[in-house]
């Protein structure tokens, strides 16, 4: 156990995974077949010894409520700690622009106030990474910083992490300024929207933000704070993907098919937990031809697959040729279907349509429960 309260934040409006997010918050989106996005941050927290976790949801809480349950499958002991789902709703909220992280923190302030922990660790539900928060907290204490911001130095900022905050750091790793990644540069220090501070300071900053403007989000107040406060960067070196658009979702899925890349995310002794579905092992038929794929249990594969991610319980019938696609759980692909560069959402039935083609930069999206 570490002396920190875990806070799972939701994204700002720049985060928009087209299609998929019509049906659930980003953190509830299926990822790599077996998981939902939120499994990564929650597993990171429980593996780090954080047992008291508040998950903030902006809207459509159902799928998250079900995925999280009591948290026992994430290794949270029900009476010592717990997963609490906090909802940002307020009575005077007439429009979405007021429904942001700061207003959700403010609406649920009492639950943060009642927590016993000295520190808070805030991490978003849309980052896929493998981070030991115990070490981040240790570094935070040693640096005597007011706020520690976890960042990653990347050389692909012109292709990834669009809309994320970039950080200017001095030699002592103190953050001197922030900007928004518009994709103009390659080399950037990108904030992973992951913060450590005392619970008291966090509550003060939330108050401060809402005093300045009812439109202020948490990253706005942090931008304003780099001057008066000592805000320090912590460099994260492992795999990280920021899932803030459909292409980002698609690219991260494709990238992690490679077991060598995946090894940088799935580390020994650092399990990524998820909710079991009690599905049977995947079945590969006589005519199956599967190369370079990530397959979840419950699948029945009788066709050809190349560079695909299959969610639980996907059926691929004979004669199918599916390439460079992400197929979400419980989808059925009928005989002789050709799919290329696509994201097929949950519980889709493909029977009459025989060809679905997108492009590498603009994958096709088939919506949830569609029957085509």
């Amino acid at each position: 156990m570490i002396d920190a309260l875990g806070i799972v934040s939701f994204g700002n409006d720049a985060i928009r995974v087209e299609g998929l997010m019509d049906y659930r918050p980003i953190s509830a989106i299926s990822f790599l077949g077996r998981y939902r996005m939120i499994d990564f941050v929650i597993s990171n927290m429980t593996n780090s010894g954080i047992e008291n976790i508040k998950v903030f949801v902006k809207k459509q809480p159902r799928s998250l409520i079900e995925q999280l349950g009591t948290g026992r499958h994430y290794n949270i002991n029900s009476k010592r700690g717990g997963l609490q789902i906090l909802y940002g709703e307020t009575d005077d909220m007439t429009s979405g622009i007021y429904n942001h992280d700061v207003s959700a923190y403010k609406a649920n302030k009492e639950f943060i106030e009642d927590a016993k922990q000295e520190y808070v660790i805030i991490a978003p539900g849309y980052m896929v990474y493998s981070i030991n928060f115990e070490e981040v907290l240790k570094a935070h204490k040693e640096s005597h910083a007011d706020v520690t911001v976890v960042y990653k130095s990347i050389d692909t900022a012109n292709e990834n992490f669009f809309g994320c905050t970039t950080l200017e750091l001095d030699d002592a790793k103190r953050i001197t300024g922030t900007a928004v990644n518009m994709g103009r540069y390659k080399n950037r220090n990108v904030s992973l929207d992951t913060y450590v501070m005392t619970r008291k300071l966090f509550l003060d900053l939330v108050d401060e933000a809402s005093r300045i403007s009812s439109l202020y989000m948490f990253r706005d107040i942090l931008r304003d704070c780099v001057e008066p406060l000592n805000v320090v960067g912590y460099a994260y070196k492992g795999y990280c993907a920021c899932i803030n658009s459909l292409p980002a979702y698609y690219n991260a899925s494709m990238e992690l098919i490679d077991h060598k890349v995946a090894k940088d995310l799935f580390k020994p002794g650092w399990p990524i937990y998820t909710r079991t579905n009690d599905s049977v092992p995947a079945y590969y038929g006589e005519d199956a031809k599967v190369t370079n794929c990530l397959i979840a249990n419950g699948c029945r594969i009788e066709g050809e697959l190349e560079n695909c991610v299959l969610g639980r319980g996907v059926t691929v019938k004979k004669g199918c040729k599916i390439k460079n696609a992400v197929i979400l759980p419980e989808t059925y692909i009928g005989e002789d279907t050709t799919i290329e560069y696509a994201v097929v959402d949950k519980k889709v039935v493909v029977k009459s349509v025989k060809e679905i083609k997108g492009t590498e930069t603009a994958p096709a999206y088939i919506k949830r429960r569609d029957r085509i």
Partner: protein
Amino acid sequence: MRNNMLGMILAGGRGTRLYELTKKVAKPAVYYGGKYRIIDFPLSNCANSDVNVVGVLTQYESVFLNSYVAQDTRWGLDAKDSGIFALPPREKSESGFGEYRGTADAITQNIDFIDQYDPEYVLILSGDHIYKMDYAAMLAHHQQKGADLTIAVLNVPLKEASRFGIMTTDDNDRIVEFEEKPKNPKSTLASMGIYIFNWKLLRKALVEDDKKENSNHDFGKDIIPEFMSTGKNVFAWTFDGYWKDVGTIDSLWEANMDLLDPKNRLDLSDPSWKIYTEDIATTPQFISAKADVKHSFVNQGCVIDGKVENSVMFHDVTVEEGATVIDSVVMPNAVIKSGAVVRRAIVAEGVVVGNDVTVGTEDGEIKLVWKNVK
């Protein structure tokens, strides 16, 4: 217990003919089907049949089995008044400490456990059979017939009948004769070792049997003959699905291969009758660019770089590039190194088959690989 029936699973068997697979775990805990342990089947059947309180009678190497079954959330028997309870032998205030002397004695020694729940019916099961059965349907038959005891029976080939307890029934399913392993079987209706008893009558019979010096304290040898000879209403309920008792390496291998048979009737993917088991945190399965997987079951966490054909792979098995697995069962965390060939084999948990090693042959005996081979 909404249907007023309590389940008791006999899970004390050593399974000596499974050799090294049962060295540290009892037979009901042996792996099966790429993901399961044998006892998952009766436990899942109970959960799916609304039998919500289940006692598991353990004895041999029970540490693992006791803690395995006690995690009743796995089978969804986790509601307030539900539960799975491991019942090893224990010291009693009146009679001291003693191991179970027979299948019936295991129940006798736990009469106080059963009495806590005051059930109308007790369902007796075996912990080492693979099958899907709706015990609620069997109970409905029991109630409809006004039975004191109902025995689930299976039609077996005549030549195998002498290995079983064989029933003769009348037109009304009433059992008119019962013979334990008869030399000249009069029927092909074999007892599956699955009984529904009216608890009051069974309780009385057990207490009486306990005192008999010459008794084997066994259901098949003592309790059922006693029910028959005293004119109780004993009925048969015919089961018509897949059923397998895996007592040997050969039959364990066969049972796994049965799953790959297109005509196999043990459908593990039916969402209305799931088989539940331990939830293991692994990655998805990685099938690499060099992999060739055909006609196989592959479980989560596997990393397949080689060839897998007509096989059942448990979780976190590694098959390296250039390795071949055919007609085999590979248990969790085993590693088949590059160039190795595994045929007609059961590879035990965690075993490493070294580079370029060959185990098993195309048509030879089933090989149990229980330690690393280099």
